[in-house]
């Protein structure tokens, strides 16, 4: 029997500082044992438990797409004990990975549909994985119109900036980047994500929306989606929760009778409406 508690060793190949506050870093890692790539077959939306031996584990969404070969990306905000240690880690260091854990964005369901992706702040990591996946050369034709709305408090807090500007230039997708408050060099949109969503009013028919962001963004985005005519079944959200085991046993990440680690982290808004609002 394979032991789901044992992490697979992975080496940090590169570290990218994502924001001005320098508390968000992307770790580019690769498995030290080649066989572990097969064991870690994943799809966008899933996460892993990252280990720093001595500090512990924490659940982090996989920010890279399975179409990106030879590396995995994890974007980590410094918040607690383990993420603090992950921020101190240097190139070449070995960390542990357990996963892939949880469910995925509904990629099968998304095929043949328009895709609306709405992200806010640091909670853009698995959405990046989804975007990279659907715009990949071989996959692109399986999806119709792609619209991405992404916002952060300030220009310095936007993550994956280089890619954002590349996506803006692409003709096969629409990318709207906004910040709450621009600075003197900011030439793009200013405004909160929900108002940008309202302003651009994307097509609702045959559209599936993926939403991930801070609670305040979610709170004001869902009513706009409803106003635009989105059904709760067509809206998918990715949640986070304090976790330990990641396999539905340790008992802390439940919302009602669903475990975020195992039944989630992706839930449709219709599913969430059936659950207690304890998250």
């Amino acid at each position: 029997m394979s032991n789901p508690y044992v992490p697979m060793p992975a080496k940090i190949d590169d570290i990218i500082i994502e924001n001005e506050a320098r508390d968000i870093k992307t770790l580019k890692v690769s498995f030290t044992d080649k066989d572990d790539w097969k064991r870690f077959a994943f799809m966008p939306g899933q996460f892993a438990e990252i280990s720093i031996f001595g500090a512990g584990e924490c659940p982090i969404g996989i920010a890279s797409s399975p179409t990106e070969k030879g590396y995995l990306l994890f974007t980590v905000k410094r918040a607690g004990l383990v993420t603090m240690q992950l921020h101190r880690a240097e190139r070449g260091e070995i960390i542990g990975l357990r996963g892939p854990l949880g469910n995925t964005y509904p990629l099968h369901k998304m095929e043949g549909h328009n895709i609306l992706i709405i992200g806010g702040g640091f909670a853009f990591t698995t959405l990046r994985a989804a975007i990279k996946y659907i715009i990949e050369e071989n996959n692109r034709k399986r999806f119709d119109d792609i619209t991405v709305i992404y916002g952060a408090r300030t220009p310095g807090e936007l993550i994956y900036k280089k890619e954002l500007w590349e996506w803006e230039k692409r003709r096969d997708m629409k990318t709207y980047i906004t910040v709450d408050r621009g600075d003197k060099d900011w030439k793009r949109r200013e405004g909160f994500v929900p108002s940008v969503l309202k302003e651009i009013s994307p097509r609702v028919n045959e559209t599936i929306a993926l939403v991930c962001g801070p609670p305040i963004m979610i709170k004001f985005t869902l009513p706009v989606l409803d106003e635009l005519g989105f059904m709760p079944e067509s809206i998918f959200l990715s949640l986070e929760m304090r976790m330990k085991c990641g396999i539905g046993k340790c008992g802390r990440c439940n919302i009602g009778h669903k475990y975020v680690c195992k039944d989630g982290p992706v839930f449709s808004f219709a599913e969430l409406q059936e659950l207690p609002s304890e998250y």
Binding site: P4, Y5, G56, C58, M241, C245, K249, C250, G251, G256
Partner: protein, 348 residues
């Protein structure tokens, strides 16, 4: 082996010592012992040290399969895993028998099996211990005043989780085999076993009626499960007010199985340990951001009751309470689960 009346046989009490000795040749036996007044299960070397008439043991049996603390893996200073990859849980050459288990405690193990063994992925540490342990329970004729097993779809003769169940009769035991593993155990002692008669069955049934009579059914559990559908009900505001949040109910509970995973470091490396945790504690769900989805004791007490009586039925089709009454006995402020249920049932 005599196979009659759905695998029931008779063991004379005078043959019990022989029976025990034969079992002890093949199995390591744990049971409630005379030495500590039946307060816990310990290794039993002779039938004389077994204490088969006892009230529920202080601690449940969950720690046999799911210890309060256990090492999941060890690592060295170079972040290399040194132990854990092969799941080197302590090797056992001999299978163990937990002997004289209360049916409620055996039922609790049956529930834990659903979490650790039957849900994918299985927990290798639990599965390994479970696979080398057999459970022989004793039907309960002497419930405590705090027992309420018949209110929660368990009972003094519940067979769930047991490989064999014993019923004490006048001068005999009626021995009922429940699983394949139970059959294997009885195969090894078949020369001591006699066929069961209708008289024995009647005597057993009478003793169970008497036992059930002592256990007042306090509530209809299926109604309670439905009642809890109202998550935002106003009564949660008052029910928790007495609760200190000490967590003793969860530690004593035979079905509570929440755990924490933490790293401990020594000079030359360290280990990752799993430790019992409790939904009664504020840190249990506290996010690193400072957000806590269950910020007060109200949400935490609701979680405990909902998990047992509403979520578990949805996930496993079973109420995760066996009515052993340990939470009732040990609560320092006498927050009696039975009266909490009654209060909720009386609410509109």
């Amino acid at each position: 082996m005599v196979k009659e009346r759905r695998g029931s046989v008779i063991l004379d009490k005078k043959d019990f010592e022989n029976f025990f000795s034969l079992l002890a040749e093949k199995y390591t036996i744990f049971g409630p012992s005379q030495d500590d007044n039946g307060d816990a299960f310990t290794k039993i070397d002779s039938p004389q040290s077994l204490k088969l008439h006892y009230k529920n043991t202080h601690l449940s049996l969950k720690s046999y399969f799911f210890p309060q603390t256990e090492t999941l893996l060890t690592f060295d200073n170079h972040m290399k895993i040194t132990k854990g990859k092969e799941n080197e849980t302590e090797e056992q050459t001999k299978c163990s028998i937990l002997f004289g288990v209360r049916p409620c405690d055996a039922t609790a193990i049956y529930f834990l099996d659903k979490v650790f063994q039957e849900s994918s992925p299985p927990d290798p540490y639990y599965v390994k211990r479970r696979s080398v342990t057999r459970i022989i329970s004793f039907a309960c004729t002497d419930p405590s005043s705090t027992c309420f097993c018949t209110s929660v779809a368990c009972g003094p003769d519940s067979e769930k989780g047991s490989d064999i169940i014993f019923f004490e009769l006048d001068g005999h035991y009626l021995v009922k085999q429940i699983t394949q593993e139970g059959e294997e155990i009885l195969e090894g002692v078949k020369e001591l076993l006699k066929p069961v008669t209708d008289k024995h069955i009647e005597e057993k049934d009478r003793s169970m009626v008497a036992a059930r009579h002592k256990l007042r059914k306090i509530f209809e559990v299926s109604n309670f499960v439905k009642k809890l559908e109202n998550f935002e009900a106003p009564y949660w505001e008052k029910l928790h007010q007495k609760c200190l949040g000490c967590g003793i109910c969860t530690y004593m509970c035979p079905t509570c199985h929440c755990f924490d995973m933490t790293d401990e470091v020594t000079g030359s490396g360290g280990r990752r340990v799993r430790t019992w945790d409790s939904c009664m504690f504020p840190l249990f769900t506290l996010h690193a951001s400072g957000h806590n989805p269950r910020p007060t004791q109200k949400e935490r007490m609701r979680q405990r009751l909902m998990h047992k009586f509403n979520y578990a039925p949805k996930i496993f089709g079973e109420v995760f309470c066996v009515g052993c009454g340990r939470c009732v006995v040990h609560c320092p402020v006498n927050l009696d689960l039975r009266s909490v249920v009654q209060q909720i049932m009386e609410e509109q």
